[in-house]
Amino acid sequence: MDSVVLLQRQLVDYTAQLFNEGFLDDQFNQLQQLQDESNPDFVVEVVTLFFEDSERLLNELAKALEQQSIDYRKIDAHVHQLKGQQLQKVCIAFRNYCEERNIEGCQKCLQQVKNEYSLVKTKLETLFKLEQQVLAAGGSIPWPM
């Protein structure tokens, strides 16, 4: 019984931390709201899909930047698809570099984006693992918070 409470505590604290640091926002709350009995893994499914899509996008971006003659319009279109509040500044810079046809600038931005996604992914994986631990210990998830 104690271990469940402890785990739940950890989960709540960690989630609050992620909100404070800006990794999670209202949209995450909404995902939880949309999860129900007919779709008990909705949040995990959406997040997984998000990272799969993002990885594909980042790979396309990397490939596009390696071309002999770079198609900056295509790169710009890809950047446009990137999601995430925290990435806004980087994306604006990225698109500016595209306009200026500044390959180094683009590559720098791409690396920043990759790092950010990697960070978010790790954090969310930790979150979901904590969730699993709570459920495995027989507790329930205190969503939404």
Binding site: D26, Q27, Q30, L31, Q32, Q33, L34, Q35, D36, E37, S38, N39, P40, F42, E45, V46, L49, F50, D53, A77, H80, Q81, K83, W143, P144
Partner: protein, 242 residues
């Protein structure tokens, strides 16, 4: 005081029983006393009148396939009244609106969305999945497509015309504006209803959408309340036009 049980007819009726206690000096005892002997003459007419009103109630209740009766104490005073009403259970169609979910609130269990057929067009995988779920949560029947051309073919093969299209404006091959233009060109001015979804924060997006014949606009990020409010507004407008 309130009890509920199912009758023998399976899944067709539910009976609700109201048990009321009559305390001393309450007016219900006057009603009941029409069946007992009265003491003074002055009370007679009042009692008779009230006796009549009870009989009327009884008649009404019985017409509703229920029953009402007074229970008497050993001394002959009314001590309780019981009312039983029978209701027919109707099958519920439509999804998710009244079902309990793990979320404690259903802020938008709005019956007007129940069964509303929505065609959702969004090229982004994640957005499509989330918005679809959101609309289903509101009670809509959703067909999700990933392009403007798929949207147009879904419309042409739709059975009835009571449809609402939720359209992402920023789609790559055929953007939302073009889709809307084509819809308005080849179908009626009023149906289907079209709601645009855009990430643009420009002021004139609203005007531009209206000029194209769209009925509503939702700004990204799409949230449950925002969607519900705009859909409600759009449906209300549509109703007023008929």
């Amino acid at each position: 005081m309130l009890g509920m049980w199912k009758s023998n007819a399976p899944d067709e009726f539910v009976c609700i029983k109201f048990d009321m206690e009559i305390s001393e000096g309450s007016s219900l005892s006057d009603v009941a006393s029409s069946t007992t002997n009265s003491s003074g003459r002055r009370q007679n007419s009042a009692e008779v009148k009230e006796g009549q009103s009870f009989s009327m109630c009884k008649r009404l209740v019985q017409m509703m396939q229920g029953n009402i009766w007074i229970s008497l104490s050993p001394l002959g005073f009314a001590q309780g009244m019981t009312l039983v009403l029978r209701f027919q259970i109707h099958p519920s169609y439509g999804r998710a609106v009244f079902s309990p979910g793990t979320s404690s609130e259903q802020p938008n269990s709005n019956p007007q969305f129940r069964g509303l057929h929505v065609i959702l067009a969004d090229d982004d995988h994640v957005n499509r999945m989330v918005t679809k779920k959101l609309l289903e949560k509101l009670g809509c029947e959703v067909t999700a497509v990933s392009s403007g051309s798929e949207c147009l073919s879904a419309l042409s093969s739709a059975e009835n015309s009571f449809i609402l299209v939720v359209l992402d404006l920023q789609m790559p091959e055929m953007d939302g504006f073009e889709v809307a233009t084509r819809i308005r060109k080849f179908r009626s001015r009023n149906w289907p209803l079209i709601v645009a979804v855009t990430a643009s924060a420009e002021d004139n997006v609203w005007e531009r959408c209206l000029r194209m014949g769209m009925n509503g606009v939702i700004r990204k990020p799409v949230l449950l309340q925002g969607m519900a409010d705009e859909l409600q507004r759009v449906l209300q407008r549509a109703r007023e036009q008929f």
